[in-house]
Structures are given as structure tokens and as C-alpha cells.
Symmetry: C2
Subunit: 407 residues, 2 copies
């Protein structure tokens, strides 16, 4: 189908799931292209994703001047508001009914793999009802765990936060030596925790140990690891994914909580709450203090920080590559919608490492939906470190880091 065969109507854009530092870039990229099309009348932003679409709670974006769009693109978090609701088929049907009611012919959903699945169901509804709707998913997740993508918008900026945090904390830990644990987001995928390795600039720099959810965590071996690094460096800086689990799949936070005599709280889905609490870091700190302290016969100084929500929205910490690519992903989605494609998900592929180049492709919604990508095991060293070769993959996504000098 060519552009001349396009049906005229309105567009809706939604932002779902956890915010990122660049999700508004994708929103703006999409708006910029749609504004130029004669086939698109209103460009609606859906307030709070599925919640707003079901209610028809829309804001009109087509008249926003370019300077406001540019500022919005540079603003962290989801400007339209987001939702924690993972839509069931029933919600998707309700969403479709509202889209039809508003004569929406172009639908864009920025989010993780759940959002891709939402697009798929709405799209199937539209087809079965003979309603022409173009349905596109625009990738977003700081976890970097979407299939078919070399990496995802949002990850580079979050990884930059993690790398800058560890750079500073490595120097802090060097100035006042001790054992320090930093807990990084990532329930199932270790990409973000692995990004801590970028903080290493000189021999001896931390993090000295990195634990990701892809490798089974053994709390006894952990003590051996810490002991070894503490002997070697006189200090030990540790990166830990919030989602680390033991060989049985039991989250370490749960295991240590029980071991240390605590009550374990679960959320409404029965998952143990891992973000927005300092529990895992504190449990690991106590584990080291008590058990390794006893073994070594000394009082160990152990502290833990949990990076928390700062990783996804800290104002002013953003990767320029990530910004540019998120904007382009939004533009591409609008472009393919206006060029004849009916549905799909925009994917970022790496064309070359040196010089760093990417290309944007269109993949099937079903290939992205409800699947998780994991950190390649080739990068995981002995279940406790990340190989230096990960730098080739990661560095261009994060951009140049601050230069430090050590005397």
C-alpha cells in the first residue's frame, strides 16, 4: 500500500511501563513525523497509557510548537504519564473500542515487551472487525531485555547512571576503604548491573565483583569472593542485580531475609518486592559482616546502597546516543505507519562496532512480545564478574564518561 492509499484519521501515542530518561524522545520523534502527514488529523497523547486509552483521556499534541517538543524530548520520565497495569485481552478490547470511537487509524505504544503484546491484541481486534488500524510498538526499557534488538532506548542512559555512580563510588571506596555493595535494577536481565564494569579505568578499580541474575548466586561462594578481593585490594566494591537468585531460583533477598529472621513481603502478583526497598543490599551487608567478619575474626566495615529509581530518571544524566536513537525509533514508527506497513515493532540493530552504527528495522509484534533477552553468557566470568569484551558492546551506548585522574 502506498501513502496515497492511506486512510485518513487520528493518531494515538501511549507510554507504558517504567519511565526512562529518553522515552519522551520517542514520543516527540513520532509526533514530529505524524505532524507532517496530510492523513493524520489529531495526534492524541494517551494519559497514563492503557488507563487513559480505556477512558478516552487524551491530550492533543499536534499543535505543540517545536521548542516545546524539543524540551519535552529532553525531559526524563513519561510525559504523558504511564501505567503499571499489564493489560489483559479484555483491556485491549476496551482500548480498541475507544480507538475506534475516536477514529484513530494510527496507534503507537512505547514500552517493553508487554506493550508489544498489547499492540498485537489490539491489532487482531481491528483486523477481525475489519477496521483499518496501523499498530506499532516502539521499544523502551532500561533493562535492555527485548528480543530482536541489539539494545533498547532507555538502557544507554540508565547504564550511564550506573557507570557514573560506580566511577564515583570506586573513588569514594578507595579514599575510605571498606566493603561496599551497590544494588542495581534488573529482575531477570543483568545488562544494567554489568554496565558497572565501565567504571573500571585503572588496574585495581572497582567494581571488583559483579553478580547478575543470569548466574546462580551462592551465598557461601559470595563470601569467598569478597574475602579474596578484600585481601587483594584492601577493599571491595560489589555490583549486584536486584534479581539475583540461587540455583533453585529463590531470590537471594528472600533467602537471606528468612535466614536473618525477617518477614518477607510480596506484592499483589505474589512477587517479592525488589525495587524501592534497600532490603537486599542490607541483607547482603549483614551476611558479610556476620559470617565473613566471624571467619576473619575482625569487625568489617560493610555498607550498601540501592541505586533505585534514580537509575531511570535522574535529571541531567543521559546518553546522547540513547537520546538520538530513542528519537529515531519514534520517527521510524511513524514513517513506516505512513508508508504502507500495518503493524510491527521497531527494532535497533547494530550495523558495526567501529565506527558505531545502527539501523532500524521492522520486526513482528509476536517476535518481541512477552519474551525476555538475557545477557550473553560469554560475558559472565566465573559467575562473579563481567568480561572486558562487554565494553565494546556497551561503551558506545553510554557515551564518553567523565575523565578522572588518580595520584
Amino acid at each position: 500500500m502506498t501513502e496515497t492509499g492511506l486512510i485518513n484519521g487520528n493518531a494515538v501515542i501511549g507510554q507504558s511501563g517504567g519511565p526512562t530518561a529518553v522515552i519522551n524522545q520517542s514520543l516527540v520523534g513520532c509526533v514530529e513525523v505524524l505532524k507532517e502527514s496530510a492523513h493524520v488529523d489529531k495526534i492524541y497523547g494517551a494519559h497514563h497509557a492503557v488507563d487513559g486509552i480505556i477512558k478516552g483521556d487524551f491530550i492533543e499534541l499536534q499543535d505543540l510548537p517545536q521548542d516545546r517538543l524539543d524540551r519535552l524530548a529532553n525531559t526524563p520520565s513519561s510525559g504523558l504519564g504511564s501505567s503499571r497495569l499489564k493489560p489483559k485481552a479484555e483491556h485491549c478490547h476496551q482500548m480498541f473500542e475507544q480507538l475506534k470511537k475516536f477514529n484513530v487509524r494510527y496507534f503507537f505504544y512505547i514500552g517493553g515487551n508487554d506493550s508489544s503484546d498489547t499492540c498485537r491484541i489490539i491489532n487482531e481486534d481491528a483486523r477481525s472487525k475489519g477496521y483499518e488500524l496501523r499498530c506499532f510498538h516502539i521499544p523502551k526499557t532500561i533493562d535492555n531485555d527485548l528480543q530482536c534488538n541489539d539494545h533498547t532506548p532507555g538502557f544507554g542512559s540508565a547504564a550511564r547512571y550506573v557507570a557514573c555512580g560506580f566511577m564515583g563510588d570506586n573513588l569514594d571506596n578507595k579514599a575510605l576503604p571498606g566493603i561496599k555493595i551497590n544494588v542495581v535494577m534488573g529482575r531477570h536481565a543483568g545488562f544494567l548491573t554489568a554496565a558497572s564494569m565501565l567504571a573500571r579505568q585503572q588496574p585495581g578499580d572497582g567494581p571488583h565483583l559483579i553478580y547478575v541474575p543470569e548466574a546462580a548466586f551462592d551465598s557461601d561462594k559470595f563470601l569467598d569472593d569478597v574475602n579474596e578481593m578484600y585481601d587483594k585490594h584492601g577493599r571491595c566494591l560489589i555490583a549486584v542485580s536486584e534479581g539475583i537468585s540461587d540455583a533453585d531460583g529463590t531470590p537471594v533477598a528472600v533467602k537471606l531475609a528468612v535466614e536473618q529472621g525477617h518477614h518477607v513481603e510480596k506484592d499483589s502478583h505474589g512477587n517479592v518486592q525488589l525495587s524501592g526497598t534497600g532490603a537486599l543490599g542490607d541483607f547482603l551487608a549483614i551476611h558479610i559482616k556476620n559470617k565473613l567478619g566471624e571467619r576473619r575474626g575482625e569487625k568489617l566495615r560493610v555498607r550498601a546502597d540501592t541505586f533505585g529509581y534514580m537509575q531511570r530518571c535522574f535529571a541531567g544524566c543521559v546518553s546522547e546516543t540513547d537520546q538520538r536513537e530513542a528519537r529515531m525509533a519514534g520517527r521510524k514508527a511513524a514513517e513506516v505507519a505512513l508508508l504502507g506497513d500495518l503493524d510491527g515493532s521497531i527494532a535497533i540493530q547494530r550495523a558495526s562496532d567501529d565506527p558505531y552504527k545502527v539501523e532500524y528495522t521492522l520486526v513482528k509484534l509476536t517476535d518481541v512480545a512477552a519474551k525476555t533477552k538475557h545477557l550473553d553468557e560469554k560475558y559472565i566470568v566465573d559467575g562473579r564478574d563481567i568480561h572486558d569484551s562487554f565494553r565494546t558492546y556497551l561503551a558506545p551506548l553510554v557515551g564518553p564518561l567523565p575523565v578522572v585522574e588518580q595520584v
Copy 2:
């Protein structure tokens, strides 16, 4: 005494206490000026402050080229290493003996009020032994709690971290509404927590509540406050100092820990550990979930982050004003030492608000030593907020913040 009357000898510079993003600026400023003097031969940096001085563990800095000095100045944390030891008189005597042994005639100690006291004792030793030693304290603390200073080097950059963190988290909390607590450093002084107010750019922006150690914290009133803001905004972003205490002076972390059935851990000084643990935030979150949740008859979404060590050394988050002033404080200390003064502490005074101007003065060591400055009560509103007039004081110290756009 004029420069021609100066005694020739070596210099020692030390960095004490918690690292900051700009403490190396002060080190470099001091080195730059000393390098130019014909009276100073070696410029020693003391490794790990008092620990290194007692052992004579020095590194020579006089030959570092300017490009390395400039990079070092821009590097967060204490490049020479620091120490947690608060020197007793006995340690100060040992320090003095080593300084004498190394023919040190110029001594500079960068740190908080403990460091000023260390200078004072060493200086008294030198006088009583008839040994000419020039002893200067260079201020540093993210807590901003030194007497005789309008503000201290290190604070502006830490405040910038807090402001940028809250800016992003306000947008995050707006996108996914709930109750969010962020715990900020500050055991006795609330300046850093108060800096969260800079994140407010539009009506309704958080933080909606700010609690500092200077105001007694009432855990029942706290629930009323949160309830009110949650009703008003449909969400609630809260800034809390790690050091908040109730009217009896009991730390809130301790009170809630006991109330929630936990064991309370104390450090070697008998203080409850407040940094490097997520406990206070988690206790407050549980307090709200359980008690306010019950009162409202709904399951509340409450999360807590503890900003932790990122506040003092996050790489790439720095106030240019803070950098410049820290450098100048180091230069001034060296300049006064070479112009006839025997001892003192460099203090930063504000000369005018608009345009923002400061001047550097020399104050007595005893006026700074072992005293803590508190947030002026005129800024504290109803024990739960910071007055907008604090912005006049704070904004120039933090520098221009990222621009955000809300739709």
C-alpha cells in the same frame, strides 16, 4: 610578618572525612600556589589523612604537571585518600612529630570541623615547642554545617545531586503515581535535604513534604501530612533527612525499628548507623503502608530510596560554582600562609545575592572547630516543608538545573 620573613621548608596537605565532588579542587588550588613559592620545597600529600601523617606516608605533588592537576581537580572523592579516625590529642601530637621530622613548615588540612580542631591542636603543639608551623584549615563538607561560613565547598555539588534526583523522581512519581520517600544525607543539619526543594518547577511538583533534623519529627503527624498531600495531589513525594529524630531526640530510624520489631545496630561510637543502609526509608514506607493504609482502607503503593554515597561523589554531577570556590579556598589558604598569617580557617562569606558574589576570609580555628551550623528555622515551614525563600540562598550554589517541559 612579610613573605621575606618566611621560613623555608616543606608543605603537607591532607584530606579528611567524607569525600566530596570538589575536595580535589581545594587540594589542587593549594598545590598551585605553593608551587610558585621559593620558600616551599617539597609539597607532600598525606595518604589517608591522619593515618598517613602519623606514618609519614607522603606522596610528592610539586612536580605534577598542570594538565594532571586540572584533571585531578575535576575528579570526585579525595585523591589522597581519607580517614574515618577523629584524631585525639595524642594522635595530633604524633602528627606534629612527623611534620617536624619532615621539616614541614606549612600544613593544610581539608575537612570538616574535626579537621579544624586537628589543626588547632597541632598548631598549639608547634607553638609550645617553639617550632614555626603555619597551620590552615580548608573547609569541606557536603553537610554545609560549618560555622563562620555562608556555605562550604562540597555542599553545592551534593545539593545539585539531590535537586537533580528529585527533579527526575518528581516526574517519575507523576508518571506512575504513588507515595515515594527519598532519604537524604545529613545527620544533624538539614541543608542537603532542604535542597530537594529546588526540584519544584511547576505548581504541584514534589517534593510535597520535606523533613529535616532541625524540626522534631512526629510519626503520627507525618501520617496526617502524607494523607493530606496524597489527597491533594494523588501522589506524594517526600524528602527526609537520615538524621530526623523525635521530640525526645530519639532517631526515627531507631523508634520505628523498635516499633516494627527489629534489632537496632550501633557503630563503634554507639551511634546508630544511618548511612549505607536503606533501613530508615524502608521503616517509613512500612509505617505508611500499615498505618495510613489501614486508616484509608486501601492498599497504598509506597516506595523508598536512600540516596546514599552517590550524593557525595557521583561522577559528572557537579556544581561549577562549587568547583570554582573549592579551588579558590585551597588557593587562599596557601596565599595567607605565604603572606604572614600563622594559622586559621578559610571561610566563604556571601558578599551579595544578586549578582551572586562571595569573599574569602580568614577566621580562627577555634571558631570553626567542633561546632555545627544548623538550617535557619526561618526556612522551616510547619516542621514539614522548606520555604521558597531558601531558593535565593541555594540556587547560585547549585547552578543552572536541567530544563524540563511538562505537558
